[in-house]
């Protein structure tokens, strides 16, 4: 169970999350939807421990562990995976090298044995085939010169190889055409399991046609303001976020 209670997060002096509470049981997929600027990406960064995103109040627990006290790498070893909205380019580090280094760092942190190079290559060949990725691309520096769609597939490939237990997908559908979206969604759906919890952060309902959520939450002005079943996403698609936005002040109306 992922349990977020009364979470307040500031970036610099600016409060972004203002008392966000959310519970996601293992085995479930929850969508977090909201307008631009609601704090969706901040939620992903706060859960994964990005420097500069300071939790000033509240708590985050995953499988009984207090995530806020852990370094980002230790959170990763504890199962947290954030699929970035804009995956970062790492010049000079081949994708294969990067993922194997990451996997073995996590395994070391958990006191597990490292994966040998041949065993790792076998895993990568299977996983990349399922995502219809060109294996040779993985010999190139991570994400450097990759298209938007290739970067997103690379995120899902890493997810498949690192086998996290808490998956946070930040706008995974942005920049994907329909075919790529289907492949990526299949990759995500293949990871659904009774032990895993998923938080799917998205602005649009489209992605949820492919990754069916158990619950949908509306994030506005730094808090969860409404929750419901999958039908809530359709309602948002039809009616927009207006009714969840704070009332217009004279200044905003002008």
């Amino acid at each position: 169970m992922l349990s977020i209670s009364n979470l307040h997060v500031s970036v610099g002096d600016k409060p972004i999350l203002n008392g966000l509470s959310l519970a996601v049981p293992a085995g479930e997929v929850h969508a977090v939807m909201g307008p631009n600027g609601a704090g969706k990406s901040t939620l992903g960064y706060a859960l994964s421990g990005r420097p500069g995103y300071e939790a000033t109040e509240g708590g985050v627990h995953w499988r009984g562990q207090d995530l806020l006290t852990l370094e980002p790498a230790d959170r990763a070893a504890a199962g947290v995976f954030l699929s970035f909205q804009y995956p970062i380019e790492i010049p000079g580090v081949p994708a294969l090298t990067f993922v194997r280094t990451a996997l073995n760092a996590q395994r070391r942190a958990r006191g597990e044995e490292e994966v040998s190079a041949p065993a790792f290559l076998k895993l990568v060949r299977e996983a990349s085939k399922a995502l219809r990725m060109d294996f040779d691309m993985l010999k190139r520096p991570l994400n450097v010169g990759f298209s938007g769609g290739e970067k997103k597939r690379m995120e899902i490939l890493q997810m498949a190889l690192l086998e996290p237990s808490l998956l946070i997908l930040d706008e995974t559908d942005s920049g994907l055409d329909i075919d790529a979206l289907r492949i990526v969604a299949d990759g995500v759906n293949a990871l659904r399991s009774p032990e895993r919890a998923m938080v799917v952060i998205t602005h649009y309902q489209r992605l949820l046609d492919y990754i069916r959520p158990d619950r949908v939450h509306v994030l506005a002005a730094g808090r969860i303001v409404a929750s419901g079943g999958p039908e809530l996403a359709l309602e948002l698609e039809a009616e927009g976020y207006d009714k969840y936005l704070p009332p217009l002040t004279p200044e905003r109306a002008a």
């Binding site: 421990g49 420097p51 790498a73 959170r75 990763a76 070893a77 970062i88 760092a105």
Partner: protein
Amino acid sequence: MSALNLRDASTFPSRRTEAWKYSDLRRWLRDAPEVSAAVEVLGEGPWRGLGGDQLAFGNGVETGADAFVGSGEQTLRLRFVSEAHATGHTASARIWARPGARLLLLESHEGRGSAYVAHNRLDIDVAPGAEVTRLILVEEPEDAISVTQAEVTLGEGARFAQVTIATGARLQRLETRITHPGRAAEVRMDAVYALRDARHTDLTSLVDHRGPDGRTSQLAKGVVKDTARGVFQGKIAVQRGADGTDARMGHHALILGERAEVDAKPELEIYADDVQCAHGNTVGNLDESALFYMQQRGLPLDEARALLTQAFLFEVVDRIDHEGAREVVREWLTARL
């Protein structure tokens, strides 16, 4: 000022000499040091395993010859070994590559002992159509002083490629002056420096294009930590009549310590027409978003930093054509990051 001579303290430059502004030799060396006793040079040095002939100096004194003439395809290990305490020595070597020769020059500066002063002079003559690849590994004690001055003269259509890998000393300067005749001759001059503690490295170079249609490509990258200081002074001159010159220079450094310093002085001096010259110089820190991304995937911060740093520097190492030598450099550098 007259040429540096360890026996004559009046030739020791201070920061008042423009070319030595960032490397004040006189600050560390006021008087002429006592002359080091000769030492025997043992083993094959860091380039062992790549074969070839050897030209070796122990505290400035040659073991056998002090000159080498290369013809055909050859490998030469050129070793400057210092094993001294608070004394000084000068080594002088001459290398010729005959027309059509392909010489792999594997140079090493192997310092042991402490507080020594080493002065190395090297003349390299590359005949028309010959090719010399000079790879230099420099490892010295943190309190040593060393100045290496190489004069390189190229014939028409000659190719000269150099890669320096330096880890610094109290004051360490590697100078390369190349006389470039143009006329299809090609120069590649690369360098990597990785400095920690209070170490200092100074890479000073001049490529002097004197004839038309010459090419030069220069890429230097460095990482400085703690209170270390890296100096890059690269100058490319294109003389009157050296039209059609294509010269590119890049220097990029990472400063990983709040008190570390990089001084960069890239210079292009152009007196010819129709040339293509460019230089780029950047000094910065590791990309924070890349560091976070790597940590999010499970790499501890130290490991993420090391991997990014290595990738940054290896861009230069990967430009070494000779596979065996490239592997030696990769391993050597990795062990020192």
